[in-house]
Symmetry: C2
Subunit: 374 residues, 2 copies
């Protein structure tokens, strides 16, 4: 039917998007201005500064891409990798598997370290692989594997990678803003994220940051970057320097939203946000236990803002998930890949990480489960 789309409001407690902070939604409707307007250049400089705080880096190559986190994954790989480059990837879930696919598509050679889904990537396996393959100069891991709920120790893996002369690319799509990430201190060479999880902005943007060593690798390429849209050299001509060269038309309204979201995070303080996500995760696990539900991932390897919960024996996961959506207007996530049908994914991210959401979820889940959906 030809009529305006008025979405029915949802409580978004899946793997993302999470509910957007109302201040961000208000920002979206501000009047669009041009991407070369001096006001807009001030805005992107401000976004850069706020992203440097959020990523905890002082790298000038800290920008947002004009597309979702998946674009960030592709951009990080396509800038760094040349044909025939070996890339070590720790794969313990769907999103690391996607890294492998992209590496293959752009002509790199993925060397995969496999990990059981639901567990963090074992740093020892990364070390063994690097020890046995001295020509690997690029390592890539997912910090918070959204498909399994496992949080990998990227600080330790970064130390190992650099010990063997490898750069580290870290996917922080699900962790940025919600989990401790110290990009500079941990020597992370490329980090990329999204706007709609820990940052509580609308979906559609991908903050990304490159270290000096990553920039050096790009500078020393002997083959062209196999993308124009994601070519960091072209992007930086817009995001840096005295004269800003047009690259593409920036999504102005989404930039307003991201700016507002980053401001909100800074107002709270990163430390406070990390602590809040951690505390609410502990509370959620405790409350889930009270209704007989338990996480897939061991406690010390658990993403605080995204839990995978085992579907109890005798419950049809899809029926319960649809019931929650249709009767309680609560969205939770299904399992992906090998975990499909076996887990639910429950996110408490950004704006939604609070006790009220936990109690709402638990009472709704309890109610729905008691109706014996078998």
């Amino acid at each position: 039917m030809d009529q305006s789309f008025i979405p029915k409001n949802r409580i978004l407690l899946g793997p993302g998007p999470s509910n957007v902070n109302p201040r961000v939604l208000e920002a979206l409707k501000r009047p669009t201005i041009g991407h070369l307007d001096p006001q807009f250049i001030e805005l992107i400089d401000d976004i850069k500064r706020l992203l440097q705080y959020t990523f905890q880096t002082d790298s000038d190559a800290t920008i947002t891409l004009s597309g979702p986190g998946s674009l960030g994954m592709e951009a990080s790989l396509v800038n760094i990798i040349e044909p025939k480059d070996k890339v070590l990837i720790g794969v313990g879930g769907y999103f690391a598997g996607r890294m492998k696919q992209i590496v293959e598509k752009i002509g790199g050679i993925p060397i995969v370290v496999e990990q059981e889904w639901g567990r963090a990537i074992d740093p020892q396996k990364i070390e063994d692989a690097l020890k046995n393959n001295s020509d690997i100069k690029i390592t890539a891991v997912v910090h918070a594997e959204t498909s399994t709920g496992a949080l990998t120790d990227i600080k330790t893996i970064s130390e190992i990678a650099h010990k063997y002369g490898s750069l580290l690319i870290a996917d922080v799509v699900t962790s940025l803003g919600a989990c401790e990430i110290l990009t500079k201190e941990w020597n992370l060479d490329v980090v990329y994220s999204c706007s709609q999880k820990g940052l509580s902005a609308m979906p559609g943007l991908s903050p990304i940051s490159f270290s000096d060593a990553a920039l050096e690798k790009i500078k020393n390429r002997t083959t062209p970057i196999k993308s124009w849209f994601n070519d960091l050299n072209l992007l930086m001509a817009y995001w840096s320097g005295e004269k800003r060269a047009y690259h593409h038309t920036a999504p102005a309204n989404s930039f307003y939203g991201l700016h507002e979201a980053l401001l909100i995070l800074k107002e709270e303080g990163l430390d406070n946000s990390w602590r809040r996500h951690k505390e609410n995760s502990v509370l959620l696990v405790k409350r889930l236990a009270s209704i007989g539900l338990e996480p897939l991932t061991p406690e010390r390897e658990r993403i605080p803002n995204l839990l995978t919960i085992k579907v109890p024996e005798g419950i049809q996961e899809e029926v319960l998930r649809k019931k929650l959506l249709n009767e309680y207007s609560i969205e939770i996530g299904a399992g992906l890949g090998t975990l499909a049908g076996k887990v639910w994914r429950i996110g408490l991210m950004g704006y939604n990480s609070n006790e009220k959401m936990i109690e709402l979820l638990i009472s709704s889940l309890k109610d729905a489960l008691s109706n014996k959906i078998v």
Copy 2:
């Protein structure tokens, strides 16, 4: 400073973005929902249907990409072109030049037909090139070359391309919604556009459509598509069929805006919109003549919704342009590439194509010019 970004409102009469219809801005702030929510699947089905109307095609492979028009250019080329494929490109401006860059980056071989900037691509030159290179199976042109104001006859060029067994990729970034485009009738194999020009939505999305012949070319590839994010096969698994497979997190709020914009265009009717842009273009040229300004491009090769105007002798183009922005809050565009410093680019697109805007622009221009900016 850490405060919300409140843009000063602008009258956007440059090459885009144009001012966004207020209904679209209102739509942007509706609550975000998940990309797998049944409501959202209905929304993307609706967007597809409205885009089919806008492009005048019945192809199921009619979707929007989750990034700006530049991403659409890259997506169209990366899906169709395999390494060593020869691609004929008519180059008479900045954006066709970008096509050439992308073809090179992804390993194709560009065969360029040069055209003077400010003129439409000569169909005869395309025919000569195809006649002399029987192994060219892909031709690419820009319909409305935003950098020069020239409108190329893609209907005729499509006939020629197909006569020689070549597909036609047409960039309709600046023309969609404002100029006649009959994708199916004219046999255009790939068309891509943007959201912020003729459609009057916020910037950031790229509608795109593929013909059956284009899909066949993709199906018969012997090498992988060198992008995961732009891989049409993966995108179509989300945009079509019974079961919608997750690809990336769609920018929900921008999709709300695009949907509203497409609805507004349908309410007006495509024919009416094309006529309105044409009539206002004629009026604008007449009114510009009254203050001594004339277009670069000959009348029959002129983009109705984007004029390039010669900077008069003795006027510093940048000084006048900045004066318009700072004192009248009107944005017009500078020249790009070889036309830098020589032209202004004036857009009357979508929501802004009306007499009131013309009179506002003319009185402001007249006023600013009379202050002898030399």
